[in-house]
């Protein structure tokens, strides 16, 4: 409760939270909010590249589709990709971090060195390679993102577990005979949850940005999907005349990534017990 109150007191973080909340609402109700929900797939060549107007507030794109509608519909994709990637990365990284943090010795060493190797792999290059290997598309992009993001969770959970392992309450639990499984799942994991949540929030922003870049490079979402990165990429040929074409999808990326990062920073501050004490 105190963490939430602190978060709301932090104006910048509250602003980030507001952006994220707004994006969530937009994503959930996208088909009902978008003025032309069918423009996800339909094109209207007759009204291509119209500047912003009352009819099309964000203008239309090279196929005559309403950009506002596509930005709104794209929110859902962006968030779905981000959630899927982050959840997958957590599913891999959290157990590895727990195991490596709890144990000491060769198992821990091996797990963490493998983590380091994955940490060293450049995201975009892996995504490009996987795209070539499997088939370019949003699926390959997501696999690549998850494969390169899980080390961050492993490292975070590893550090938290190492810290908590020497915490007095863990020692006390061992003292009254609690099994390691019980200690890890019921005590260490919940105590590490704030750090994981912070990591996940920042990861969401990061994933959205990278997914957009992949879309831009043509190895992410494929046309005619209303992907923001893809839209920016498609707009390149129509610059500088159709300035509205890349601007609004680009702004959407900027805003949502910013929102997640601000929220993540705020969460980190709120979850840091040292800061909690000093602000009291």
């Amino acid at each position: 409760m105190t963490a939430l109150r602190l978060l709301l007191r932090d104006r910048v973080a509250a602003f980030g939270g507001l952006i994220v909340l707004f994006a969530l609402v937009v994503a959930i109700f996208a088909p009902w909010i978008a003025p032309y929900p069918d423009d996800a797939f339909e094109s209207h060549i007759m009204q291509r590249l119209r500047p912003p107007s009352a009819e099309f507030p964000f203008g239309t794109d090279n196929l005559g589709r309403d950009i506002l509608s596509r930005v709104i519909l794209g929110t859902r994709n962006a968030l779905l990709v981000a959630v899927a990637v982050v959840v997958a990365a957590m599913a891999i990284g959290v157990p590895i971090g727990l195991a490596a943090g709890w144990r000491e010795g060769w198992l821990s060493e091996t797990l963490m060195r493998v983590t380091d190797v994955f940490l060293a792999v450049p995201q975009l290059i892996l995504a490009l390679a996987l795209g070539q290997l499997i088939a370019p598309g949003i699926g390959a992009a997501m696999v690549a993102l998850a494969l390169t993001y899980w080390p961050f969770f492993a490292r975070t959970v590893f550090a938290e577990t190492r810290r908590l392992r020497s915490a007095l309450f863990v020692d006390a639990l061992a003292g009254i005979g609690a099994s390691p499984t019980r200690i890890l799942l019921l005590h260490v994991l919940p105590n590490a949850a704030p750090a994981v949540l912070v990591r996940a929030t920042i990861g969401m922003g990061f994933t959205i940005l990278t997914a957009a870049i992949l879309g831009f490079l043509g190895v992410g979402a494929a046309p005619p999907s209303p992907d923001w990165g893809l839209a920016v990429s498609e707009a390149r040929q129509h610059l500088p005349e159709a300035w509205w074409f890349p601007t609004f999808p680009g702004l959407a990326i900027l805003l949502l990534v910013l929102g997640f990062n601000l929220l993540g920073d705020g969460l980190r501050d709120a979850a840091d017990p040292r800061l909690r004490r000093s602000r009291r």
């Binding site: 020692d171 006390a172 003292g175 005979g177 609690a178 005590h187």
Partner: protein
């Protein structure tokens, strides 16, 4: 009274382990300790920080594996086991941490923490758990409503009581109390000490009382062992030890304790204890000892009888007495 918990030639090595390439050498935090705690008594262990008193406690408890020596519980040898197995065998020994607030999971309500101990020991029936918890909370002088609180909502005294309740639920025979009054206010300390005394009678407990506060130790302990650099240098009944300390270290320690009447007596003890990584040869205390003689750097003293239920490990204790 018969012995309930004892150790012979106990050695505990800390920090030793296999690195990736070579074996790391550890330090001997406990180096050849004999103790014998009689049933029903309060056995004090005193010494400066780093003397190995907490390590000794953890080894007795089974949380720290001993490197050599024997540990006995109710007449049975319980040493030489892996920590998990050791804890199972030594269920009758429980430990109360120095900082009982930090020994509670901050995310768990106190009641859940208390119930967890019971669940681990096979009591999973909710109603019975609640009844046992309410009964134990009453025994440590707390309201049953306390179970709904979070650890940070408790005062220092309440945290100690919860720490006690937590292990009393497991029906131990021996309770190791690590600095049970550190950081407590005088009035709260008095209340906690009184509670400890009452609980001892009520539940038939034996206490191992680790403390650096000699006023408290003198007050509550029946017998006392003084530790220095991993060794017991003197032990005996509290009355004898405080009235006629034989070891120069014990004398300095007792002299250093501040008293209400402001008197200061006996020699001051300069410097800090040396590191366990560089244990002095001969008597470990000789570099700081005012009474050290030539032989002290060569010969390592062993505990010898200095009276009824009183032993001291000093080469010169007889001479000192005469002086």
């Amino acid at each position: 009274m018969p012995e309930i918990l004892g150790a012979t030639d106990l050695v505990v090595e800390l920090g030793a382990g296999r690195g990736l390439l070579r074996r790391r050498a550890g330090v001997r935090a406990v180096d050849g300790v004999d103790i014998s705690v009689a049933e029903g008594e309060t056995f004090g262990i005193v010494g400066e920080s780093g003397c190995g008193k907490t390590t000794l406690a953890r080894a007795l408890l089974g949380l720290q594996r001993e490197s050599a020596g024997e540990i006995r519980l109710e007449g049975r040898a319980v040493s030489g086991l892996h920590p998990r197995a050791a804890r199972r065998v030594r269920d009758a020994v429980q430990y109360v941490h120095q900082d009982p607030g930090a020994a509670l999971d901050p995310w768990w309500r106190v009641g859940a923490t208390l119930a967890e101990g019971l669940a681990i020991h096979g009591l999973t029936d909710r109603a019975e758990q609640r009844a046992r918890i309410a009964e134990t909370l009453a025994a440590v002088g707390l309201d049953a409503a306390m179970a709904d609180r979070y650890p940070h909502e408790l005062s220092g005294g309440q945290q100690r009581r919860i720490g006690l309740a937590r292990i009393l639920l497991l029906r131990p025979k021996v309770v190791i109390l690590d600095e049970p009054t550190a950081g407590l206010d005088l009035s709260v300390q008095a209340a906690v000490l009184r509670l400890l005394r009452d609980l001892r009678t009520r539940f038939g407990l034996t206490y191992v009382f680790i403390s650096h506060d000699l006023s408290v130790v003198r007050r509550v302990c029946d017998r006392v062992a003084v530790m220095y650099l991993g060794r017991v240098v003197e032990h005996g009944s509290a009355a004898t030890l405080f009235a006629e300390p034989r070891h120069p270290y014990t004398r300095a320690l007792i002299a250093a304790a501040p008293h209400l009447d402001g008197r200061e007596s006996g020699p001051s003890l300069p410097g800090d204890p040396p590191s366990l990584r560089a244990v002095p040869p001969g008597c470990r205390f000789h570099p700081r000892c005012a009474a050290a003689a030539a032989g002290c750097a060569q010969r390592d003293p062993v505990l010898e009888e200095a009276g009824a239920d009183h032993a001291v490990a000093c080469l010169r204790w007889r001479d000192l007495d005469a002086a």
